[in-house]
Each structure stands twice: as C-alpha cells, then as structure tokens.
Amino acid sequence: MPGLDIGKAPANSVVLPFYAAGALAFLVLTTLMLLSAFPLLGGYFNPHILAIVHTAALGWGSMVIFGAAYQLLPVICENDLWHEGIAKVSFYFLILGAAFLVVCFWFFTTGLWMILGGSLVFVAAVLFLCNVLKTASGGKPFNVQKLFIVSSAVWLLLTVSIGILLAVNLRWPYISVNHLHILTLHAHAGLVGWFLQLIVGVSAKLVPMFLLGKSKKDNLLKTAFIFQNTGLVLLLLDGFFFGPGWRYLVYGLLVVIGIVFWLLYLRDVCRHRIKKPLDFSMKHTFLSFLSLLVAIAFVPVVWFGNSQKWAMLYGLFIFVGWISSLILGMTFKTLPFIVWNSKYKMLNGKAKIPLPRQMYWHKLLSVQFWIFVAGLYIIALSLIFEARLPLQIGLGLMWLTALIYVSNILKVLTHKTVILD
C-alpha cells in the first residue's frame, strides 16, 4: 500500500514547548547551583538541593524527554502518536507541577502547595503513559525498544506516586519508616525505572540510526531489561518491607549487570557502524554513558564511606554527567530536524535550502562540549577536595554551558525560512 509506514510527525506545537521549557529550566538549574555552591558541600537533604534535584529531574530532564519521546514514539513504535491533544495538555501539567515543586522545596513550604505540585506532575505522568500505551499497542507487535519505553512510563507514574506520599509525609508524618529511606527508593525508582529505561529504549533505536550501524544482538537488550527491572523491583520491595541492608548492593549489582548488557549492545552497534567520525552530539552522548559508569563506581563509596560528599558526587554524575550530557548532545540530533521539517518540507528539491545542521551555530556545539567537560570535572574535584573557589568556577562554567545551549536553541526555534543563493 503506498504510503504505508511513512511517518506522520506530530505537530511542532506538540513537541517544541517541551524543548523550549527544558532549555530554560537548564538555565534555571545551573543558576540555582551557582547560588547554592556552599550547600553543595553539605548533605543532600537540604531544601536547596531538593529544589535543584527536582529542577534537574522534572524541569530539565523529564521536560525534554517528554518532548523527544512524543517525536520519537512513532519511530520506535512504527505507529502515529495516539493523541496530540493529550500530549499538549501534559506539557501544562508538567511545567506547572515542576514549578510548584521547585519553589516549594527552595523555600521549604511543605503542605498543600507541594502536594498540588506533585499531583500536577502525576496527571502529566498519567497522560504520558496513556499516549505511550496506545501508541505502542497500535503498531508493530513487539520490539524490545518499545518494551523499555512502556516500562519507563509505568515507572515514572510509580516514582511520582511515591513522591506525593513523601510530600504528604513531610507535612503530616504518617510513614512509620525513615523518610530519607523512602526518599532513596523514590529517587532510584526515578533513576533506574524512568530515566535509565527510557534512555536505553530510545538509544537502542537512535544510536544505530545516527551511526549507520546495526546490531543483531537484540538478546543483549532483552537481558538488560530483565536485569534492570529485577534489580529495581527487588530493591523497592525489600526496601519497603524490610528496610535498607547489604542486600541493596546485590540489587544494585543486578541493575549494573543490566546496564552492562545495554552498553554491550551499543558497543556492537559501534563496531558495525559505517559512519566512523563522531560529531559533537555523539561525543556528548558517549560522555554521558561514561559518566553513568563513573556514577556507578561511586555507589560502594557512598555505601561504605562516612561522608555525604560521595552522595553529592553520585548525584552530580547522574544528573549532570549522564542525563544532562545526553540531552545537550541529542537535542541537536532532533530539534533542528523537527523545525526543518515544518519549514522546508514543501520546498525540498524545489530550491536550494539550508540543511538542519545549518540552522544553529554548529561550531558553538564544540565550545559547549569542552566547557561542559571542564565544568563537570572541576565541580567533581572541588566536591572531593571541598574547595569553594574552584567549585564556584566549575559552576560558572556549567552556567556558561547552559547559556550557549539556550542561545543555540533560540536560534533554531526562531529560524525563518530562507532560500539560499
């Protein structure tokens, strides 16, 4: 049938608000980090740190990931996005919920406003899950990438649910076990369930596309799925019913084995790729995978060490090294193409038109990469040696990274159609 399996990309009005809001949230995030340089040298259960983490997880990470997922779900599920209207509505719930939560944490205003913020994010997660389930169920019967995306959306809902229970507990304590202990479970449901599984699913589809490489070893991904989910389910059940113990390390090991299987799959793609040179988008991506391994290496140190700085380093490499680096790179593999498609689709072949990579300052991407790398490692070393001035320099570099990123995003979003000579 002519036209079968031709992608009908979602409207720009569905996807672009997520990218724009996410970019602004990254600037807010790095500004808050700069303002909170000294609390970063203390413990993680601190109002400013909680505000920073929720800016990173919801305003920045989840915001861009929602937008990218709505664009990429049709590619992964080989089916049109189920409901564009619901996707648009989810944006308002997510941005309002994230804003309420961040402000409430920053000023540590517990109670109804914080619970309302969590509830708005909950609605956004429900709407996202509906779109994922309906889009996934209508397409090709099964692929493991689809399984990861569906699973990640379910975990997001569970993570937000636990978060709301914690928000209630902060104001009206009712949970008999230690609040910080449940907070750890909430954080890891989000990191391993939501972020990791979504990133695994999307990367398993996109990295082969971008590198022109293919792997036939889908079993590596299936094994990764089993290990990651088994480890996480055991962690949550054991943690909730019996409390923390040495068994956490065993469950962590299961998740790590799952991560290793995913990385082995990506290595196989890289070995069979035909596009050899890596551009700066892909360098950002591989730096993010490296940062994830660094974060994992900190887990035993966090467990056995007696300083909270190791937990801060773990968080740094997760939220900045892994999630942020990935988004900083992948944005330029998706956003310019989305805008190009709406501006130039009808002109393709008719006139000389710019390519997607000509819609942003391409050279600035390499500057962004190196400033980001310098910032990340200066912050990490400053946390280890508890050095205040270098920490502020590193945070300043991260703020500069955000400024460069936002300026490039604005350039793409405000692009006007041009015909080249």
């Binding site: 399996d5 031709i6 080989e78 596309m209």
Partner: protein, 109 residues
C-alpha cells in the same frame, strides 16, 4: 537501479534520475539516488510516473519530506505527468545499496 538503453523510456528515466539527484536526505546530507533509496521508475502509463522507493528507517519523521521532494522535482521535470510514489520495505535498504559517490559524501571511503 540500472536501465536498459533499449528501454523506450530510457531517456525519460535518465532525466528523472538527474532530477532526483536534487532530493537530499536531510539527516545524511546525501541525495536519494546515491543513497540507493530509489528502486524503480515506471513511465509505462502516459499520465504518470510511478516511483518505487524505500526509506532508511521505517516511520522516519523525515520520510514525508523526502517523499515531497520526489514529487516536487519530478513535477518540475515532467509537468505533464502525475507522480505516484510507492514506499516499499522489501528489499530492506542497507548500506551496500549506496553508490561509491554516496559513500564518499558520507566520508566512508
């Protein structure tokens, strides 16, 4: 894609290929002929050009733009004919289908 010089539509097919060199895959920056995405051109119907082609990825968001590009260039080269495009997935596109020029443009050789 190869054409027989004895094919009565040989010249039109060569003109169509020349026009299709102007359709670029925006992700790879290579034209669709050198990528090997076009499998067949059929001029047997006097009112139509039937293009049989594929895409590098199923449900690719840019697939519609590439298809529009094919309609645009063939519409300009053959204004008296309507362009009909059939997207097929068999044989599945692979890197071996690229021409030496396509591989060079991608920096592979």
């Amino acid at each position: 894609m190869e054409f027989n010089i004895n094919d009565p539509h040989y010249e039109m097919k060569m003109n169509a290929v020349t026009a299709l060199y102007n359709v670029i895959d925006p992700e790879l920056f290579v034209n669709i002929i050198d990528l090997g995405l076009v499998y067949d051109l059929d001029f047997s119907d006097d009112a139509k050009i039937k293009v049989t082609m594929t895409l590098s990825t199923k449900h690719c968001p840019l697939g519609d733009a590439i298809k529009q590009g094919v309609t645009n260039v063939l519409g300009m080269a053959f204004p008296e004919r309507e362009t009909e495009i059939e997207i097929v997935w068999e044989p599945e596109w692979n890197f071996d289908m690229m021409s030496p020029e396509g591989r060079r443009d991608l920096g592979l050789d």
